[in-house]
Amino acid sequence: MKNHKLALFGAIILFALYLTAIFADFFAPYSFDTEKRQKAYHPPVKIHFDPMPYVYDYKVEFHEGIKTFTPVIDKKYYIKFFSKGRLFGVDEPANIFILGSDWNGRDILSRIIYGGRISLSVGLIGIFISLFLGLAAGGISGYFGGITDNVFMRLVELLMCFPSFYLMLALRAVFPISMSSTSVYIMITVILAFIGWPSLARVIRGMVLSLKAREYVLAAKSLGGNTSRILFRHILPQTFSYAIVSATLSIPGYILSESALSLLGLGITEPHTSWGNMLNRAMSISDMQLHPWILWPGIFICVTVAAFNFLGDGLRDMLDPKKCHEA
């Protein structure tokens, strides 16, 4: 029972994350490319209550080369809700940088919300392609056996011999270093799906091998069902519950791979945003040490990964009642 609650908890978090990402234009206080160059590396803004929430404008000063931000407490800027088609915002010149701003003076929270569009969808689309390939390859090679099976399984074994990170980098090299963001996005999903399908295909094949010996398959055969009908309508649907659980549990891997690629500057590039490329500046230790708030996207990655793990674990237990007794 404990796991079911955790799964529900994970599902709610994921729902909230996806919802904010889809309606980013409403939830984010700024656009992902609104730059306030004078307010670069602005620390998180403190919100005061009187009891209405308000913020102060911050004055930028340089002391011996170090930038300091001090609140100007002469004027209160009240947070305005539902103004200009956004959930909340404040009047100029104050800024509502709840999680601070980055090196170009862009709001980190807004960029996280917009970045979620890419970071959260890459995993879903990638796993969808992987599932399709894995089910097709696993189903066909399990059902037909013989040479087809041999060819597919040798290919699968071969692809699984490459350490995935090295394979991912090598595949990335197949494409030009600089591309438009749409093509980068498509490229990343294709690479991730290509790396992900072999392990799925292998397990599906094993399941199909045992399923095709069942009596209901024999019944379908003797009733004259043709091969594709038996395979796609009778056998493969039986593997769906496994496929869904394993898909849920492997989405975090896809999200992390996208983040890693973008983090290294090989994925989504400026001015577009994904959680990985926002962390790119953290690679420079001095930048990170002075402005630790640029690590916020990492927290969102952790939360997403944890939520998918909760959901996947719970789903597995629900579909496999035997397990419930042990845990």
Partner: protein, 320 residues
């Protein structure tokens, strides 16, 4: 046993061939090559370019280039790096050592921490320590290694307690032997911990559930019924059976660690194969990329082979 090992090695040969083939053709699919970049440099004349192309055999058809490279691989000659102008094998040797050092240290840490913790959780099932450790392991699994690396880097750079990257200090050569050793250890702590954490959490959970499976077996009840102490039953019988399936995991772990270590290496500027691979890709250093891909997959195959052999040694049912 020897026969089993030999058959396994023979099985690995076609895989290795396939790996070289795939590595080669992936790199051929890349747009342009190192020379298209050189062409942009006005100081290099067309003649020099042609000569370079000839020297590296770029004028021949693909399939001949592949076999030329392959015949070199058999003679342990992995070709020359375009960028560094020295044999690839020299470059890789040093980096390979660093990567292996990091991976082996991480694996030792993982097993020495995860197995006792797993046993502890299973023997104190549903007590506070089990709940605490299981909860913590969930966090451990969910923190991506690169983020953990950032967090530890931040902690190290603000406290100045541990070095923030590299494998040795700049003044390493002036240290005494003990100084050198402790220098290495200091530099190893953060990267090995980053790699270890997620794996510790995973392995601990598996160990716990394996132990619980075995504790419920009839033979455990028999052992207890005939008067064996709880400790003796746990460590003499349950533990041995529970640890057996973990040997297979060991093989997968090697692959996961190799692959996971690469990103950690890049972030923590550990001079391993991951960083070499990234640079080689950015510079389209064809032979270096292929060698990296080839050597890393070979390590993976050797790791799996090693795990299979260990499993065969532990479990007589597997050797036929």
């Amino acid at each position: 046993m020897t026969r089993y090992i030999i058959t396994r090695i023979i099985h690995a040969i076609p895989l290795l061939l396939g790996i070289t083939l795939i590595s080669f053709f992936i790199m051929q699919m890349a747009p342009g090559d190192y020379f298209t970049k050189l062409q942009l440099n006005p100081e290099i004349s067309k003649d020099t370019m042609e000569q370079l192309r000839l020297r590296f055999g770029f004028d021949k058809p693909l399939i001949i280039q592949y076999f030329k490279w392959l015949s070199g691989v058999i003679r342990m000659d992995l070709g020359n790096s375009f960028v560094y102008q020295i044999p690839v094998s020299v470059l890789i040797k040093e980096r390979l050592f660093n990567t292996l050092l990091l991976s082996i240290v991480s694996i030792i840490i993982i097993w020495f921490i995860a197995i006792p913790l797993g046993i502890l959780c299973a023997t104190h099932r549903n007590k506070w320590i089990d709940i605490f450790l299981s909860g913590t392991s969930f966090i451990g699994i969910s923190i991506p290694s690169f983020f953990l690396a950032f967090l530890l880097l931040y902690a190290a750079s603000t406290t100045g307690f541990l070095p923030t990257g590299g494998i040795t200090d700049a003044e390493h050569s002036s240290y005494t032997i003990f100084g050198k050793l402790s220098d290495y250890i200091k530099h190893l702590i953060i990267p090995s911990f980053v790699i270890a954490l997620a794996n510790i959490a995973g392995l601990m959970r598996i160990m716990r559930s394996n132990m619980l499976d075995e504790i419920n077996q009839p033979y455990t009840i028999l052992a207890r019924a005939k008067g064996l102490s709880a400790a003796r039953t746990t460590y003499k019988h349950v533990l041995r059976n529970a640890i057996n399936p973990l040997i297979t995991i060991f093989g997968y772990q090697i692959s996961g660690i190799l692959s996971g270590a690469a990103l950690t290496e890049i972030i923590l500027s550990w001079p391993g194969m991951g960083k070499l691979m990234l640079d080689a890709i950015l510079q389209q250093d064809l032979y270096l990329v292929m060698a990296n891909l080839f050597i890393s997959s070979m390590l993976l195959i050797v790791g799996n082979l090693f795990a299979d052999v260990m499993l065969a040694m532990a479990d007589p049912r597997i050797r036929k």
